[in-house]
């Protein structure tokens, strides 16, 4: 690219213009997508990528955070394919969902389009969105019993969906034939194409305004700037090795816990993230590929260093040690559908390690599971229904505030569909949709509280769940305590049941009128709970978030009969505890 420099003012202007283009691509996809996982949960992302390396050049302000990290690998997979096979032309668009070559899991369909200028490749634009069903043993793809990716759905390597502007109908035919919901996928594919068409038009118009050379120089400057900011952020952390580890309940096949361990080394303005002490690959679907691991680290760091811009430059000062073929470096055909659980644990581990280095920036562990719940049955007219959704929990406390109650996961900005939309679309009745008392980790700033969801099915139904946090709770930091664990149960005429594997199960048969119940974790606390303002503890008790027993035993706060703080008794309690 050009070696010229741009004045900071033009650079700031271009940054805004380019981010707007990507934001508008996101908005176009959300609005025209079929399935709610894209339209409401925003499980999608767009960006502009480097012509030779595939590095992320520009990201929008929305976009699923985990994809922000993963998309560069997806574009690189196409670059590798073109390098091998050649034949790249203007008007081509590649489609694929290969999780080993570009990250995440089979439901995430990527469209990658080259943008040509004057006959030469200028950059790539890409779109990714989570499609509802791509075959496999379980509707929706989250098969907790998968031991190979073949049981999770169809795997498509990078292929040309459009060749020189012409749609290859055969590929659409293959995709259709491999899904339970081809119409939904077709709608989403068109919505992603709407987004790419719009992005290309907008980018070309910007190039016409400013000239290709200026934009190419700006791309380079954005990355350099992100790198400089990341180096400055790392330099502010004391040198040293900071270790942290956490566990996953099991892989859904064997009931053994799996470890995600990190040794983070800070040296000057560089950071080394060494995951070698983590478990080996497992049989079940919670493996992740190396590219997913790197993408997840990027998400974690962005949540800590929020000012650093989202492009490839911020990863330059960071090196990784990930063992090939391990839990965090899996290859084909290891199943990966439950990748969300593993990256949530991994993001928590990065928070935990850096909390040791810099407690004043630390975040308590977030609730740490997506709880992918599917309830499926047939209506009286014989048509099939599948209610599939992810659920919320609490975020961790921080030195600034309590954690947020009932939040989305750090890997997404997903909103949950309204129950009125769900009840209008599926034969279910929600019986409870509430905050969960005593689910937050105690702390000077406590975690956010988790939730309780109870759903009754109006037909016979099959239920499956892919969750986590059934054995190890979200951790506290800087003296804060752990939150409550995840709990799943069901009730039918035959009585109440819970999963033998705690958080993962398929094939629960629910008779009409039967109910399932999810109680999700809160977030971990920040700081010693005995230093929490007693008035805030009294308020938590008044609101029903904390029970009186916990107020007394954990927070060392005594309450009078009217619920107000008994200052003298509290002081006695807190002094005793301190002894």
């Amino acid at each position: 690219m050009s070696g010229a420099t741009l004045d900071p003012v033009t650079l700031a202007v271009l940054k805004g213009r380019l981010e707007q283009i990507v934001d508008e691509m996101d908005a176009t996809l959300y609005r025209s997508a079929f399935n709610p996982t894209i339209a409401e949960a925003k499980d999608a992302c767009h960006g502009i990528y480097h012509p030779e390396t595939g590095d992320t050049l520009v990201q929008g302000s929305g976009g699923l955070p985990i994809f922000v990290g993963a998309m560069a690998f997806a574009v690189r997979a196409v670059i590798d394919k073109v390098a091998k096979d050649g034949g790249l032309q203007e008007g081509d668009t590649f489609v694929f969902n290969d999780p080993y070559d570009g990250g995440t899991h089979l439901n995430d369909f990527r469209l990658v389009r080259p943008i040509f200028r004057g006959g030469a490749l200028f950059c790539w634009m890409a779109s990714v969105g989570h499609w509802l069903d791509i075959g496999g043993n379980v509707p929706g793809g989250y098969n907790p019993k998968a031991v190979e990716s073949f049981q999770e759905g169809v795997r498509i390597p990078p292929v040309k969906l459009f060749s020189a502007g012409k749609l290859n109908e055969d590929i659409v035919g293959i995709l259709d034939a491999n899904s339970r919901l081809p119409m939904s996928n077709w709608g989403d594919l068109n919505a992603q194409l709407n987004a790419l068409d719009l992005g290309e038009r907008r980018l070309v118009s910007l190039l016409e305004d400013y000239g290709d050379g200026t934009i190419a120089t700006a791309f380079e400057a954005f990355s350099d700037r992100a790198e400089a900011m990341m180096r400055a952020a790392i330099r502010a952390i004391p040198d040293g090795v900071y270790s942290f580890e956490d566990v996953l309940d099991n892989d859904g096949i064997t009931d053994d816990m799996l470890t995600v361990a990190l040794d983070a080394t800070i040296a000057g303005d560089t950071m080394r993230l060494d995951f070698s002490r983590s478990s080996g690959a497992c049989q079940g679907p919670i493996n992740i590929s190396r590219s997913t691991t790197i993408a997840a680290c990027y998400v974690a760091l962005k949540h800590i260093f929020t000012d650093v811009p989202a492009n490839a430059g911020c990863l330059r000062p960071i090196s990784f040690e990930i063992v090939d073929g391990s839990l965090l470096g899996a290859g084909p055909p290891k199943p990966v559908a439950g990748y969300t659980e593993t990256i949530l644990r991994l993001i928590g581990v990065v928070f935990g390690a850096l909390a040791k280095a810099d407690p004043d920036r630390a975040l308590g562990g977030p609730f740490g599971t997506i709880n992918a719940l599917s309830i499926a049955g047939h209506r009286t007219d014989g048509s099939r229904w599948v209610l599939f959704s992810f659920f919320g929990g609490g975020l961790g406390g921080s030195p600034e505030s309590d954690g947020l109650n009932h939040a989305n996961n750090p890997i997404s900005t997903a909103t949950i569909p309204p129950i009125e939309i769900l009840e209008a679309a599926y034969p279910v009745i929600f019986r409870q949709w509430a905050l969960r008392p005593d689910s937050a980790g105690a702390g000077t700033y406590r975690g956010g509280v988790g939730a309780i969801y109870e759903v009754e099915s109006m037909t016979d139904a099959d239920v499956s769940l892919l969750g986590e946090r059934g054995k190890a709770a979200p951790f506290g930091v800087a003296g804060g305590e752990a939150a409550a664990m995840n709990r799943f149960s069901w009730k039918s005429a035959a009585g109440e049941g819970t999963p033998p594997m705690v958080s993962k199960i398929t094939g629960v048969r629910l008779a009409k009128g039967g109910r399932v119940r999810l109680e999700t974790p809160g977030g971990g606390g920040w700081g010693d709970p005995r230093r929490r303002d007693p008035q805030r503890v009294a308020r938590d008790v008044r609101l029903g978030f904390v029970s009186e027993g916990v107020a007394r035993d954990t927070y060392a706060v005594a309450l009078a009969a009217d619920g107000s703080v008994d200052a003298a008794a509290t002081e006695r309690l807190r002094n005793e505890e301190a002894l």
Partner: protein, 690 residues
């Protein structure tokens, strides 16, 4: 219908109350500006009105208010009790399971109704509208009494699926009313019978939160008006840009959330359309923010909902106003990556920019404008300060921006203005280009105190065709109050497949909705030329999640009795309207996929007699007489001797070549080197390329 008599528009701002008086018979207008007194707005209100003579001589007063907006932003609403369906008391606090920012996980959320003021009662309605569990009337009464005893001042009742059948809510409302001591009580199906429980709960709760605040504010104003023997009509501007009676405002105060800014947009739309610019983008540059709104073909764009702050959602049609954190008080700084940023942090109006000398030492956009000579340091707007401190502003710019970037103070000041210009341009671009509008068809209409300083950059950066600066930018909102139509919006969720739809039943539904809304408009008792009825459907392809607004090409044709009537709607008409709307938004139609109607939206508009804006035009004057001198102003890297004019003295048809600065008591217009300006027949200033 009857003609206008004398009418006054009143816009109460944080610092000043602006008024616009119009006597239609005499075609005479007057403006007034008096200090606002926060907490005792009635005093300023009366002071302002009295400048036009005895209040008993006025026929009507229309008011754009920020009392609701401020109560929301500062969390100073009433103590609200909420009664809801068993199992769902936390809907308001659980939101849609979102978080504040994409990146960064800190920050919590406190809802406007705390958990111990939210009470569940046995009742359940299904999505089909069938009642699974009738409401427990005694439980409702007990809950209302308990909430009252705890100190609740307003009561909201929200049941799950009440959009599909409001019977349980209505029974509960009747029961609660027997024990509730005031009018601050409402249920969700009467306020927003639309699917989505969080949005409906939030809107209903915020409405209750504002009821006592807006109610007592209106009572104070009405008492003050009574004390001066005012016998005319008193009305309020709503967020949709229409006017409503104070009775409706008391019942639906959530609809006043954007009352103040909406009035300004209405006036800008009327002024620019009369001036031959039907397509404009309005920009109101205040101390901390820049509010942008799009007007196409003389019509304002409405958004279905707004988020006042994280987790505080009001779902009602509102004039779509995009706000960015760039105002005169926005602070300029160089970030850790070496990039110049302006805002979002702001010095506000207190302590304000460095040049105010009130203690802030970090440079703001206003400081840059002062240093460059664009703002007259000897004649500050508003008249509170005698002089602005140019040297202090210059020193601050050099220290915080110049030195880190290796620029001198003048270059740094120019860079600050450029960044601010590009932020404003970005906001305008989002509203126009990014929605497929060609900017070269649009003019910018800057109003408020600072917008006209940046008009030239907006023309050039966005590629707009011109800028139109109204004759009195500072009283644009007050003028909007005078000319706004009366309007009432309603929504009803239908959830119907289009295929084989019962068009007769739908027609009946539409006529009913129209009659209800029409009654509200007629009860406002303001003179109208005619009443328009507009219908829109929220629709999508079956399987899609979001809906698209589909305007229907029908209205109600009156039956022989004057009521009854029909819309003549057909299935084919709806299908055609949907496909048109879909294609306008997205590139690909999905042939063969069935369509569904989610909501019916009805708007009834009482069109006010047209206001002759030519009344605003200047009488007499000469260009030479308006010229007050020259001063050096920095443009494009150097000082240029720049002509200064008293803008209000310029006659119709006057032409001024850039560089020039046009000053008036409430605004300053900058005409760049490569631009020129002229005064049109209405007294507007039109800035264009040379």
């Amino acid at each position: 219908m009857s003609a206008l008599g004398t009418i006054v528009g009143v816009d109460v701002g944080g610092t000043f109350t602006d008024l616009f008086y119009f006597d239609e018979a005499a075609r005479a207008f007057r403006t007034a500006k008096v200090p606002s007194n926060r907490g005792d707005e009635a005093a300023g209100f009366l002071d302002g009105l009295k400048t036009f003579g005895a209040l008993s001589a006025l026929d009507s007063i229309v008011h754009g208010t920020t009392v609701g907006t401020n109560a929301l932003l500062e969390r100073k609403g009433a103590k609200v009790g909420l009664i809801t369906t068993e199992g769902f008391r936390d809907v308001l606090e659980m939101r849609r399971r979102d978080r504040r920012h994409t990146w960064g996980l800190s920050g919590d959320f406190v809802p406007v109704v705390e958990r111990d003021f939210r009470v569940e009662v046995p009742e359940r309605t299904l999505a089909s509208g069938d009642i699974l569990t009738p409401v427990d009337v005694e439980a409702v009464k007990r809950a209302a009494e308990a909430l009252l005893a705890k100190g609740a001042e307003a009561l909201a009742i929200v049941f799950v699926n009440a959009y599909a059948n409001s019977a349980n809510e209505e029974v509960a409302l009747a029961a609660a009313s027997t024990v509730w001591p005031n009018d601050h009580i409402g249920c969700s199906s009467a306020i927003l019978p639309e699917i989505r429980e969080f949005e409906r709960t939030s809107t209903t709760a915020l409405n209750a939160y504002l009821q006592p605040v807006v109610g007592s504010y209106l009572a104070k104003l009405e008492a003050a008006l009574d004390s001066e023997a005012f016998a005319g009509r008193f009305h309020i501007v709503q967020s949709n840009g229409g006017v409503m009676s104070t009775e409706t405002a008391r019942r639906l105060p959530a609809r006043t959330a954007l009352s103040g800014p909406a009035a300004g947009v209405i006036a800008a739309a009327a002024i620019s359309e009369a001036a031959g610019f039907p397509d404009v983008i309005t920009g109101d540059l205040g101390g901390t923010s820049f509010d942008v709104s799009l007007i196409v073909g003389g019509k304002t764009a409405l958004a279905a909902q707004t988020t006042v702050d994280f987790g505080l959602v009001i779902r009602n049609p509102m004039i779509e106003i995009t706000t960015i954190g760039a105002g005169g008080g926005s602070i300029a700084h160089v970030d850790a990556g070496g990039l110049l940023q302006v805002g979002p942090e702001s010095a506000g109006s207190r302590p304000g920019p460095v040049c105010y000398g009130a203690g802030n030492d970090r440079p703001t956009l206003t400081d840059a404008n002062v240093v460059l000579g664009r703002i007259n340091a000897d004649k500050p707007i508003g008249g509170k300060l005698a002089r602005l401190d140019v040297e202090a502003a210059k020193a601050a710019i050099l220290k915080h921006v110049g030195e880190p970037l290796g620029l001198d103070a003048m270059q740094a000041a120019e860079a600050i203005v450029r960044i601010a210009d590009s932020k404003m341009a970005g906001a305008i671009r989002l509203m126009s280009i990014e929605r497929g509008h060609d900017p070269s068809r649009f003019a910018a209409v800057p109003f408020g105190g600072g917008g006209a300083l940046h008009a030239g950059a907006l023309i050039k950066d966005v590629g707009l065709k011109a800028a139109l600066v109204p004759r009195y930018p500072g009283v644009t909102s007050a003028l909007g109050c005078v000319i706004a139509d009366i309007r009432h919006d309603q929504v009803q969720t239908l959830n119907l497949f289009l295929d084989g739809i019962d068009a007769t039943a739908l027609d009946r539904r539409m006529v009913e909705e129209a009659e209800k809304a029409k009654a509200v408009v007629e009860n406002a008792h303001l003179a109208v030329e005619r009443i328009d009825v507009l219908f829109e459907l929220d629709m999508h392809y079956v399987g899609q999640t979001h809906t698209l607004a589909v305007p229907l090409p029908v209205t109600v044709t009156e039956g022989s009795t004057g009521i009854g009537g029909s819309t003549g709607i057909t299935e084919a008409m709806i299908a055609d309207a949907f496909e048109r709307a879909y294609q306008a938004s997205f590139s690909r139609l999905l042939k063969g996929v069935p369509m569904r109607i989610v909501n019916l939206r009805t708007a009834v508009i009482g069109v006010r007699p047209s206001f002759d804006l030519a009344a605003l035009a200047p009488q007499g004057g000469t260009v030479e007489g308006a010229r007050t001198g020259t001063r050096p102003v920095w443009f494009g890297g150097a000082f240029h001797d720049t002509a200064i004019y008293a803008r209000l003295e310029l006659p119709v048809g006057a032409e001024v070549e850039g560089p020039a600065i046009l000053e008036q008591p409430d605004a300053t217009t900058v005409v760049d080197l490569d631009l020129k300006a002229r005064i049109d027949a209405f007294g507007n200033l039109i800035v264009e390329r040379k």
